[in-house]
């Protein structure tokens, strides 16, 4: 055994950023080692666009008029980010249940590395998801009409939503520590959350109270802001929430992240009981 460089009481300390990036690389390696799983995963937004754009879309109308697929694509951005909660949650649940986290915790590395690495990897996934939706949208006739600057700002709002969703997912995964249970919670939660929002249809077309709930839905804030920034039809709405969609599209993710990131960190630390 070549003990000279390998042994040593005081190893080189790398710091939390380097450790976190190593963990990020680990998660991306998972993605690369299971290409069929990744392909299925990234096919999800394509399916959303095709199924809702063509199958249901023919029966849908946009409040204030306009092309339904132009109306739909901003919603698909938000919906795709929401479903990312499942992958974030189950990945961390697999980690927490298996012994590998014990090894990480017994090593001289930053305690934060596993969570920051997970979060960074999920944000990278979020960028890929976002590009898939973007390409897919362009193919079905969606586009942005108000310049590249507003378009990029809109994409940042999508990623802000993904950040909040990621931390909720990580917290959930650490809470239940069972990847199947994560799916069992996320999907029944995600469906009504998207249905009672402005992803598929305008709140003003819903019965009174449902429309109000839909308008205040965090997803709706992002989607309304996106439609506005892209210049897509159906921005609509007359309530405070609709009028201040851009503000809410920043506030909601910020608040959710501020709540769930510390909760997740606390949960992670509690693994040592």
């Amino acid at each position: 055994m070549s003990a000279d460089t390998v042994r040593g009481a005081a190893p080189r300390r790398r710091g939390p950023v380097a450790d976190g990036l190593t963990m990020t690389r680990r998660h991306m390696a998972h993605l690369a080692r299971t290409p069929e799983e990744a392909a299925l995963y990234f096919a999800l937004p394509i399916m959303f666009v095709l199924v809702f754009g063509y199958v249901f879309g023919s029966g849908m109308s946009v409040a204030g008029g306009g092309n339904y697929r132009e109306f739909l694509v901003p919603g698909v951005f938000a919906m795709t980010m929401l479903y990312g909660m499942g992958s974030s949650g189950s990945a961390i649940a697999v980690d927490a249940r298996r012994g590998v986290v014990d090894r990480f915790r017994s090593m001289p590395i930053a305690r934060s590395a596993l969570l920051t690495g997970r979060c960074t990897a999920d944000m990278l996934r979020g960028v890929i998801e976002l590009l898939v939706v973007l390409m897919c949208g362009l193919l079905v006739g969606w586009t942005w009409h108000r310049g590249i600057g507003r378009m990029l700002l809109a994409l940042l709002l999508v990623l802000a939503l993904r950040l909040a969703i990621t931390w909720i997912g990580i917290y959930l995964g650490l809470l239940v520590r069972n990847e199947d249970a994560v799916g069992g919670i996320v999907f029944p939660l995600a469906f009504p959350l998207t249905a009672v929002s402005n992803v598929f249809t305008s709140p003003e077309l819903m019965p009174g109270w449902l429309g109000t709930v839909s308008e205040w839905n965090p997803l709706s804030a992002t989607v309304t802001a996106l439609r506005d920034l892209f210049g897509n039809p159906g921005v609509g709405g007359s309530g405070w929430a609709s009028d201040n969609a851009l503000l809410l599209a920043i506030l909601w993710p910020a608040v959710l992240t501020a709540i769930f990131a510390p909760l997740a960190v606390r949960r992670y630390k509690a693994l040592g009981r």
């Binding site: 790398r14 014990d102 090894r103 990480f104 017994s106 040592g272």
Partner: protein, 339 residues
């Protein structure tokens, strides 16, 4: 506590919220000098894993004090983690990565640098006979391969103190010998090893000293030979034809064993036995005494104590509570009796 010990612990207590008030660690303590192998021997649920997790900074203990290489486990966990390696009962590797990817990742996290980490990974893969499987996902490895990869991961940076928590439980004899060889060569380079096991034989093979743990505390400590001597070393055992003879035989065994010899009697098996110091002399004396007393004997012999008896002796209860006579018989039948 002196810093010249690799491991020093005293009075460790840990109570889980959900074990109905029973303490997982109840005043656990041990000292292990540098460069030695210390066995932690005990049945399932005795607290072995809890002790290892507490010493390896994975579990906060409620009370007590522990030091690894002179660093306080509770207050300087970073310093402790920089010096330890841990291999658990289950393989603590990333099952979605290949064997090589695992070792390179751990090497990178230990600060080896990517080139050195890759080089070290290849060395370890070769050492543990995993070179051919290096590119395969660790989740597809056999149990033995996964355990070897896990041990290799603990050795990416040679630790000052290595915790091995039941490293060979469930392994076939060949894999077990590979693990034992790896432990021996590691100790030869100066690493201190704390090994937990349920097998007396494993502790006997590897450990310089052994602590016997039961209900969260150490009930006996010493070298394997010292412990065996404390267990009474060999036993003389007599099986009689007529159970009515048992009291007489027990008396006679007690006399042969000398002061302090407490014979054990099992009426169902028509068997009496006693620990003895000099088994040849004791056996000769017992045979003569039985002959003089005219007791009809079906079987007589000497044998080493089983782990089960070791626990009975040290703790007053068996490793697993047996209620059926068949189970008891199996213990007797399973151990060789030299008649």
């Amino acid at each position: 506590m002196a810093a010249d010990h690799a491991i020093a612990a005293e009075g460790l207590r840990k109570r889980y919220g959900d074990t109905g008030g029973r303490a997982a660690l109840d005043g656990f303590g041990m000292t292990v000098p540098f460069g030695t192998v210390h066995g932690l021997l005990g049945p399932n649920g005795a607290g072995k894993t809890t002790a290892v997790r507490a010493l390896a900074t994975l579990l906060r203990y409620d009370a007590g004090h522990a030091e690894i290489c002179g660093f306080d486990v509770a207050r300087q966990p970073g310093e402790v983690r920089a010096r330890i390696g841990l291999t658990g009962q289950y393989a603590a590797v990333d099952e979605q990565l290949s064997g090589r990817q695992n070792l390179v990742m751990f090497g990178t996290l230990y600060g080896l640098g990517r080139r050195r980490a890759r080089q070290r990974a290849d060395e370890l893969l070769a050492q543990f006979g995993l070179t051919d499987a290096a590119g395969r996902g660790a989740g597809k490895y056999s149990g033995g391969m996964r355990r070897r990869l896990d041990l290799a991961a603990s050795l990416v940076r040679v630790p000052r103190v290595l915790f091995l928590d039941e490293p060979t439980t469930g392994l076939d004899p060949r894999s077990r010998n590979q693990v034992w060889d790896a432990v021996r060569s590691l100790v030869a380079t100066g690493t201190t090893v704390l090994l937990t096991t349920q097998y007396l034989e494993e502790a006997d093979q590897l450990a310089d000293r052994i602590s016997v743990i039961d209900a969260g505390r150490v009930v006996a400590e010493g070298t394997a030979d010292e412990l065996k001597a404390r267990l009474g070393g060999a036993r003389v055992e007599v099986v009689v034809r007529d159970a009515a003879d048992l009291p007489r035989v027990a008396d006679l065994l007690a006399r042969a064993a000398g002061p302090g010899g407490r014979p054990e009697v099992d009426r169902d098996a028509r068997r009496a036995s006693v620990p003895v110091a000099d088994h040849v002399a004791a056996l000769t004396e017992v045979v003569r005494a039985l002959h003089d007393a005219g007791v009809t004997v079906e079987d007589i012999g000497t044998r080493r104590p089983t782990l089960d008896e070791a626990f009975l002796h040290l703790t007053g209860h068996r490793t697993q509570e047996r209620t059926d006579a068949a189970g008891d018989g199996a213990v007797l039948a399973g151990k060789g009796r030299a008649a």
